[in-house]
Structures are given as structure tokens and as C-alpha cells.
Symmetry: C2
Subunit: 405 residues, 2 copies
Amino acid sequence: MVRINANFNKLPGSYLFSEIARRVAAYGEANPDRTLIRLGIGDVTRPLPAAVTAAMHKAVDEMATAQGFHGYGPEQGYDFLRQAIAQHDYKARGVDIQPNEIFVSDGAKSDCGNIGDIFGTDNVVAVCDPVYPVYVDTNAMAGRAGDYDAATGRWTNLIYMPCVAANGFSPAIPAEKVDLIYLCFPNNPTGAVATRAQLKAWVDHANATGAVILYDSAYEAFITDPAIPHSIFEIEGARTCAIEFRSFSKTAGFTGTRCAYTVIPKELEREGTSLNSLWNRRQCTKFNGVPYVVQRGAEAVYRPEGRAQVRETIQYYLNNAKIIRDGLAAAGLTVSGGENSPYIWAATPDGMGSWDFFDKLLREANVVTTPGAGFGPSGEGYIRLTAFGEAEATRQAVERIKAVL
Amino acid sequence: MVRINANFNKLPGSYLFSEIARRVAAYGEANPDRTLIRLGIGDVTRPLPAAVTAAMHKAVDEMATAQGFHGYGPEQGYDFLRQAIAQHDYKARGVDIQPNEIFVSDGAKSDCGNIGDIFGTDNVVAVCDPVYPVYVDTNAMAGRAGDYDAATGRWTNLIYMPCVAANGFSPAIPAEKVDLIYLCFPNNPTGAVATRAQLKAWVDHANATGAVILYDSAYEAFITDPAIPHSIFEIEGARTCAIEFRSFSKTAGFTGTRCAYTVIPKELEREGTSLNSLWNRRQCTKFNGVPYVVQRGAEAVYRPEGRAQVRETIQYYLNNAKIIRDGLAAAGLTVSGGENSPYIWAATPDGMGSWDFFDKLLREANVVTTPGAGFGPSGEGYIRLTAFGEAEATRQAVERIKAVL
């Protein structure tokens, strides 16, 4: 008789965004005349840049001919894309990353989840609180999280690093011994960024203890402050302790086109084994690469016209972020994020609960947000708003929120 | 200090196709004047069907507009594609599979590997010998295979089911208790197919013992004999014991375009838990769906013009298969496969070793094949040839082989 992976049954049933969808659907059915504006889920809305779609059309045409047809590509990604990434995302910022340290994939979500395959199940995992649920759930599935305690909203074997107003939403290095440390800057959901000095402390800690930092920089394109690092590899010493996850999703609108990459330096070893080699083996065995047409689209992001178009889209979203941030602040809410990030993290008024404030904004303002408590216990008392909407709708949403506060 | 997944270090170093590439490269460097013909790796060569590229162009155009833009899609695949699959791949053959039993993915290789996430690591796994290496390596990584014994070429905890001439390359049901049973028909590498009666015996066995059959039918499009089932779900009782993997790779030339799907019936439960629900949770947590543009391309495979174009391509490859099969048989080799399959499985002459015959064909005929021993000990004494080449090159390759036998 087949045994299932018992860890799956430990996962709490309702996923944050499913519960939001349920509440929104119920409200919508009861109030069919109301027009909702969604500032909740972090999906982009602007079209793909013209340079990207032009490159994709060209690649589709190639695939239609025997001469231009591309079958199985390299599991690690085509060299043309790995070269472009190394050049523009790293070398241009003074960071030496070689193409064979870059693994192109179908998404940072896949990579953040699948990376666990190469690590033992007995490692101690540290996550921020609030946190992107994928880090937690994938470790729970692998058996690293222990048991879920509904009373605390926490897993028994995870180390939680609170990110709260008192520490500026920047986690302290945990006192406990930890092995795998998930960091995400600019942060989802708080919108906080990490300074060079803060990242240096993490790198030094990881190198001193043998920990590995799993660094999610999927939102680096939103950094406007020149002093803020875009990559963990801008920090001295990171090549021996860090893995970085990047994505085209929020940079170039690839949420429905699917392309991302993971960087594992050649120097990164544990127990005498290269993690780059382990990941290469994992990917070659369980993955068959990203569509040729998509990789050509991603490459176009780095061409001059592609870069200009991407900058324009990012600026569009950053303008939305400013509208949200300034509007809510003017209405008296305490807000953070939204300056180097598409996410705005707003404290609820008068200590109201996250879900209560979510419900109030849904019913009274007809605006969908994300309750901070859904990202972890330390998110209680906050909501997350995203800048990925249409500009005019975003402006309206903010006016509606201001009117009910 | 981070511990790596120690199972990775148990994997034998050299992957079959890497070793082939090494030998071919060495020969090519030493003999730059020779033109090699490759009948080895199973990659397709014909362009994408015109219906597919037309649909992809249309989808790229949609992605270029705010109105037509698609962001995150459903992790399980768009309903338009799941409906088309249910209708054309199942209902048209009298099989009732609902769209919510179909999970669209980026590849059967990914799914065959990732499916292990939902099962406990203490299940006993049975594989054919010879075997598609992904089934073995992914279970080895998960810790289900035990240790690799270089002397036998086998893992200590796997149950091997020999597929040899004596049993017509159809495995016997193992005497040992097994939990997860990987079956692949039409088979890679032997090209063998399974009759309805043979599959019924497997289904009855699995239902009697609580085992789960992991059925890889990535090559079903090559079945020409109307009596041979295309799906395990054509067999009564399969809905309570089987998971099926399908792919657009070999059907519609998607090896570089990446689309596949996995079918898990709602009735399939173990330990009181729905495997459909477990896989849904796995995919929602670790996967973000297949590109919209690719899913539109896959949907076009089911349109009348798409189906006609796919039939034409399959017939092209089947003609190659016949050329190889008939040619090698005429030269005195014992061959099987190649009638309902793109793979031809040929016994080496005079009991020659697989790698020796591979080397002989490489050096004397300048034809690249795949040594059967690379797929497992019972593949010793065979080579695999694939029908995915260009027709004229395939014809030449067969003539060259005949000339050196």
C-alpha cells in the first residue's frame, strides 16, 4: 500500500489568496452592482514590452522552419540568455557572475521551492515573519518545518525572524543556530529594503556558521535608491554563502510568460560538495529547460529598446506606489515600503485586526487588499497593497480608501 | 552548517548522454572530415505545426496589449486547454477524464520527477530494466533507491522488472511487494507496447495491493495498431490506481516549447487522502503554470488543421522507423519496436557489448546510436535507434550501418 508524504497533511487547509478570493466572491455575489478595485494579489497588468513580443514573434517564426527549429535546449538555459544576464544584471553593477553560475528556469517560485531538493531534511530553516508563504510551505512539505501550531500560526521547527516596526522591518540575526536562511529584499510583503551594512552582517554570519542564505531579489528592479544593493553578490563574501533567485515576472511583466533564474557561485560548497553541481544535477534530472521562444523574449529585455521599455513600465508601477503611499499617509495611516518596492505595507487604524480591516475596505471602499496576518503572525495589524494595477484605478482606490477612514 | 542531500552523492557520475557526447566529440575531433548522422538522443527535428505557430503568434499579439495581456495563469493550466485535452485525448476514445483531473505542466520529465513529492520516502519502487533514467535518478535523490551497486548497475532498494526478448520486452508483475510501479508504453527505450490484457493485469494487481501505477504514455501518438490502448484509463479499474503522464513533446514537436500534462483521477486515494488534491497542492506551491503563449499553441494541436499537421509529422517519423527497422532486419539484426513507437531496439550482432557496438557504428558507419546498457543491465546487448531524424539522413544512416555489418 502506497504511503503518502505525511507532511502534506500537516499543511493548514486554506491558502491566503484562496480565502481572499472566497470573501471577494461572496461580497461580489451579494453586491453585483459594486465595482471592485483589486490592490491585493501581486500580479502585473501592463503588457509585455514591444521588444519582448517582437523577439518572441521572431522565435516563433524560427520554430516554424526545419532550419530554425529548436528542440530540447540546455536544461540550464541558452548561452545567449545566460551571457546577457551575466553582463547586464551583474557585470554592469561591478559583480562578477559567470554564465555557468546562472540557471534559467520557469519561475522563482519553482526555484525557491525546488532548491530544497539539494539540502538534507535535517537543516534548521529561518524565515522572516511576515513571509512569502512558498518558503514555509515547501519546507513543511519536505519535513523541515515540524508541525503547524494553529494557536501561534507557526511551525514548530522553523525559526521565525520578526520584521516589525520596531526593527524597521529588517530581521535581526537569530540567536539560534540556523542553516538555511531565506531573505527577500525588496521584501514581499513589507516592501522593506536591506542596506549594504545589513546584508554584510548576514553574509558574515553565514560564512562564520556555515549557513546558506537563500536570497530572493525578485523585486530588485524597483530599487530607486542608488545606495541599496540589487544583489546579495554585491556584498563581499557572498560567493561562499549565498544563492540568489531572480525573476523576469515583476521586472518585465513575465508572470504569464514564465522565466526566472537562480545564481549559485562555483565557490559555494558544503560538506565538500559544490552546490552549483548539485543544482545542475537536480535540474538536468527533473527539468527540461525554458521554452526557446520565452528565452528569446527574456533576452530582448536586455537590448537597449527592451531596457527603455522595462524602465518605463517600472516607473508606471512606482508612480502607483507613490499614489498609494502618499494617499494612505495623508489619510493618517502609518505606511512603509512603496519607495524601492511595488509593495506598500500599511498599519491598520486603531489596532484593528488585519482581516477586519480587509473586510472594512472590501465592503465600504470596494477595494481588495491583502491582510498582513496572512503572511504570518507578525503581519497582524497590517495590510499589503500592490502597485501593479492600472494607474487610474489605483488613484480611485486610494480616494475610496481615504473616504472611509 | 548546512547538510546537503546525501542521496545526491550516491548518484553515479556520468549520465548516459554525457558519455555519448564525450565519445562523439572525441571521434569528431580526431576525424574532422567525417559527417556523423545522429540516431541517438530522442529529440524531434520537424518544425512546429503551422496551426501551433499561428496560435502562438496570436497569443504573443494578445500579450502586447493591456486588454489581451495574461499574467499569472492557473497553476493547473487554462481551462481552454484542459477542456481540449479531456475532449480529444480521452472522451474521443471513450474515456471519461474531467478537466479538473488534468494538470498542465512544462514537461513529463518534470512531472515524472516531481510526482515523488507527494509520496512517502518509504515506498518500494518498481522500474523496468532497461528504463528511462529519470524514474530511477529522481527516486534515488529522494532516498527511495538505497545505494547504487556499481557491480550490478542496480540500486539496492529498487525492484527491477527485466524487459527482455524472452518476455517480449513486457515486464512480469514482480513477486515482491511494491508500492509505486513505473510503466512506460510505448516503451522508451525498447519500443514495446502493452496490450489491453497486459495492462488489465497491472491494474488488477495495483488495485489488489494498493500500489499506484505511474504510467508514462508520452509516445502514445505513435500507436498505429487499433487494438493497443493509448491510455491506462482505457482499462477498467485504472481510476483507483493510476496516474498518467502525457506530453506534447513527441506528439507535436514541443521538446523546445515545453508542454505536458498529468492526469490524476478524483477516485485515486491512498491513506484516505486524494492524490489529485495532494498534487494540486504541490503544483500550487512549487509551480506557476505554463506560459499562456505555449498553452495557446498546445490548444491548437487539437484543432482540425493542427490534428492533420500532427498526423503528418507522426507519419514522417513512423516512415523513418520503418526504414530503420526493415533495414537493420534485412542486414540480419534482430529488431523490435518501431511499429507503434519512434524507438527501434536492435540486438547487437554476435553477442557484442552495447558500448562496443556503439563504438563500431560510430567509427565505421559514422552513425550515433544509444547503447542499451545505458538504460540498465538488461539493455546490455542492444542499441536504441530513434526515428526522429531527417528522412534522407535516416536512410543514409541505415545504408551505412548495413555496409559495416
